[in-house]
Symmetry: C2
């Protein structure tokens, strides 16, 4: 393969990669960054096309990076070699691994989702911290959710910390975006029950029926679910809290509710228990 090499920190490509750390340029150019061996491998495994791949052997950790770069090139990515300092400048991680890819953004609406008879969805509203959004995606993946709907996004899906903290789930989990009105309308139209988790819930998450077509709905870290969502939800549930009020963050609360749904939806939902 033909490989261009860039050493200058002033090179326009280097400057463009640095700008892609910010949402504005990312959305304008319609692309985002994927850094490191594991994340790039996972994107490729899931058939996500890489537009460009930047590498620097000085930073390689010795995990067969050259083979990965060659595979990316074969799959159609433009491959560019960077000098040590240039790579350090474009890397957003503390410990660069010498691999950075540019990937085209995607955007789906709820109506684009291909869902079966008994959809199992996670809806998250206005999540602020990229790390939480990534962890929510992981939790949804672990629980076998069919799709995640991000409602009234605050953090964008392609923030480097979402990419990192989702540990590759971003590349495999169907994710749709929409406003609260769009998403509540979609769920109603499809006959999908919405179960909102809120400290004000009238019953415990274990007392609600979480089988059948289901959307679990989680609110933002700071404000919880909006009044609109609370009014629109078919059921409001709460997780019993033994400790201080903030001991369960949104990602932990989601995983508790998701796995209670997994239990109820399984053919053998566990040994019957009596006090």
């Amino acid at each position: 393969m033909h490989v261009e090499k860039i050493s200058s920190l002033q090179n326009p490509r280097v400057k463009r990669l640095v700008r892609l750390r910010d949402r504005g340029p990312r959305d304008e150019m319609g692309v985002f960054l994927v850094e490191g061996f594991r994340a790039i491998s996972r994107a490729m495994e899931r058939g996500v096309p890489l537009t460009e791949v930047y590498f620097c052997r000085d930073w390689f950790l010795g995990g067969n990076e050259d083979a990965l770069v060659a595979r990316a090139s074969e799959a159609g990515a433009e491959v560019v070699e960077l000098g040590r300092d240039a790579f350090a400048k474009v890397a957003y991680r503390d410990r660069p691994e010498g691999l950075l890819a540019v990937v085209a953004q995607w955007r789906h609406e709820p109506g684009d989702l291909k869902l079966g008879e008994q959809p199992f969805l996670l809806v998250v509203e206005a999540i602020e911290k990229p790390g939480n959004l990534g962890t929510l995606l992981r939790g949804a993946d672990a629980a076998g959710v069919d799709a995640v709907i991000v409602c009234d996004p605050v953090t964008d899906l392609f923030n480097p910390n979402v990419v990192r903290s989702s540990t590759g789930v971003l590349f495999s989990m169907p994710v749709a975006l929409g406003t609260t009105a769009e998403v509540t309308g979609f769920l109603r139209q499809r006959g999908i029950r919405s179960v909102a988790t809120t400290p004000r819930g009238s019953c415990l998450h274990t007392e609600a029926d979480l089988r059948g077509p289901l959307a679990l709905v989680m609110g933002s870290e700071q404000f919880g679910l909006s009044e609109k969502w609370l009014a629109a939800a078919d059921v409001q549930v709460r997780i019993p809290m033994a400790g201080q009020a903030d001991s369960l963050n949104v990602a932990m609360a989601a995983i508790v509710t998701l796995f209670e749904a997994v239990r109820q939806r399984s053919p053998s939902p566990g040994a019957p228990v009596a006090p």
Copy 2:
């Protein structure tokens, strides 16, 4: 109150505070650092005695910090004012809030724990990341665990990131330390069943009986539970994993199992479900 003021970055106290970020000096001096308004408030609310409190009004966020410093002084803490640069040097957080306390370490053994008839314990083995240990403490608090036992510690309990990520639970949750042999011996002697969570578990976590005297046991991020623990545990359970193998980290897996135990242990463990 009499308040000494320090501006020099070379002051021995300033240098000592910086050294306390590392475990060696921390263990040698038998103290640790608590930074920020919320963490220090929580320590005081829980009656944890502060030895020294350092403050710098230049960094205050305007949340009644002076009153907190006065209360700490009344409660017996030595109060020292720092100059702007000196405080920036001792602060370990990215955004200093102008408040840093020195607190004496504590150490309990499993035998020190005061437990009732039906203890509900979380045992964690060799956790490596301070953030995970703090999150595990939060999860244990949320689930109403009586105590956490940290087995063969890798991360020390008083690492600044454990303090921060535990959001104050470190100050209220009884935590004991011990070796695997000590902890397994303790559980056996007290008649507490140990339930280990491992991908190799022979039944699902929802199929095991998690009522009665119970210790849930979680292994390290990288290696899971040691062979010793797997051999010693009364039951091995696994969480059903729908997605990629690493979508549940140790803290998320713990919270799923902890809240299944909460469900089973509650007087009304939820609506009966049938497929």
